[in-house]
Amino acid sequence: MLRLENVHSFYGRIQALRGINLHVDSGEIVAMIGANGAGKSTTLMTICGQPRARSGRVLFDGDDITHVPTFQIIRSGLSHSPEGRRIFPRMTVLENLQMGAVASDPAHFNDDLGLVFDLFPILGERQQQRGGTLSGGEQQMLAIARALMSHPRLLLLDEPSLGLGPMLVKQIFDVIGQINQDRGVTILLVEQNAHQSLLLAHRAYVLANGEIILHGTGDELLADPEVRNAYLGGGN
């Protein structure tokens, strides 16, 4: 479904990605883990064309989208919930969700709205509240819900559990599993919570310094001594 071939990308003169090769197959949850600054978020943003890959190719459904304008990439069935949530603070919850549906067919707006309110009932209760007045957890739910409103086939999620308490983290990971299982949405997930995401993901990539240093199934990486040491808090 998604394939990155030898992708290099830069912020100004600073190289952020050094030849990323990865693929995500239809129906999978794929996780990317790695230290801060390893290039996880940049990989997701480069898929959306912000920044554009300076060399290499990004393929979505077999089409080369490396040079397609961002808004058209999104309209082709890919959705990105970026780092830092970035909900619109001075728009209501409902308006934020309407913005999420810009790229999708208005005919199934009501169905999609019903589905995200099923996943996150609190958003249904707070429809008219401004995004900026929600709590951190609610904002995160809104960010994921907004990304789902475009009816995506592939969902990119950047740190959905960042800054949330353990209960909410569990809830968010449950929802990610549901989205994948019940709605058949393919997911590429970036997480600092390596343990949870390796449990959830079918496959995972480990990034360091803009390169992929390890790749395997979630279980393989959970068992890998190097991964345990570096990303799972020592040999426990």
Binding site: T70, I74, R86, R90, M91, E95, Q98, M99, V102
Partner: protein, 304 residues
């Protein structure tokens, strides 16, 4: 008292025109964070286009006034918004992502270019228009003073209120308005949701130019005299109105326009006509010093 009411009516009329122009400044500032200093010239072009349209209607012999007004309005709006669109496309879009100063210089250059374009094609002299809407109602008469609310003033104030109501609804309730507000709050995120940001910005310039065109037409009908330089001072006044109301805020632009019109009318009526511009720009200075975010604007610092 009668004199006061007369100045009030005059001030609201003038304020309507400032308000209509100010919306263009505030919307563009909201979405791309720059002052479109060529906006006054867009208003001037709107005025010229409406005189042209009135003249052509005279030649073709359209005499039924409502039809004539609607036709002139349409001509002015359509062609002026084409200018508004072109200004963004030519002078600002290529500079998007560069320093703010570059865009500012480009805006000033665009303003000069448009002034000289009209100077060359239309000449340096004034153009005049015979009053189209004559007469009025006597509101109030005392022995030596009569308060007249002229039909043209009623037309200007009502049309302005109508347009502002339409625009407020458009921004608050339609998909385009949501897209504009989203671009204003986080342009990168709007792109990530599938918004065509370039198109949204173009439409914002077009909408601002439409209102400037209406203001140009109204001012032509009200004063009957226009020239190629009229956009400069009017643009600065409307900019002042937008800053007074809180730049970036749509209701602020409307309120700021009205207040500025009233201040000018009362200043001219009670103190000195010659120094009315001093009053306006004095307000600009005071607002910038003591209330930089304006009456209805948000302070820059925001809780994230």
């Amino acid at each position: 008292m009668a004199y006061f009411i007369q100045q009030l009516v005059n001030g609201l009329t003038l304020g309507s025109i400032y308000g209509l122009i100010a919306i263009g400044y505030t919307m563009v500032y909201g979405i791309i964070g720059m002052i479109n200093f060529a906006h006054g010239e867009i208003y001037m072009i709107g005025a010229f286009l409406s005189i042209l349209a009135f003249t052509m209607l005279g030649v073709t012999g359209v005499t039924w006034m409502p039809l004539a007004l609607i036709m002139v309005l349409l001509v002015a709006i359509v062609f002026t918004s084409a200018y508004g669109w072109a200004v963004e496309r030519i002078a600002y879009r290529p500079l998007r992502g560069s320093q703010r100063l570059a865009a500012l210089i480009s805006a000033i250059g665009m303003s000069l270019a448009l002034q000289n374009y009209v100077l060359l094609t239309q000449g340096a002299g004034v153009k005049t228009l015979q009053p189209i809407i004559r007469g009025g109602v006597i509101l109030y008469a005392t022995g030596n003073f009569t308060v007249i609310l002229s039909y043209i003033q009623i037309f200007i104030i009502l049309l302005t209120i109508l347009l502002m109501a339409i625009f407020a609804t458009l921004i608050a309730r339609t998909a385009l308005g949501r897209a504009q507000r989203a671009c204003e709050q986080d342009r990168g995120m709007a792109t990530l949701l599938g918004i065509n940001v370039d198109r949204t910005i173009s439409l914002t310039f077009i909408m601002g130019a439409m209102l400037a065109a209406v203001a140009g037409m109204l001012v032509t009908m009200y004063y009957g005299v226009i020239d190629f330089f009229m956009g400069f001072i009017a643009g600065l006044k409307a900019f002042t109105a937008a800053v007074l109301g809180g730049i970036g805020s749509l209701p602020g632009a409307m309120l700021g326009g009205m207040l500025l019109g009233l201040v000018e009318a009362f200043w001219a009526g009670y103190f000195s006509v010659e120094y009315k511009d001093v009053a306006s720009f004095g307000i600009l200075v005071l607002v910038l010093i003591f209330l930089p975010s304006g009456l209805l604007g948000r302070p820059d610092v925001e809780k994230v």
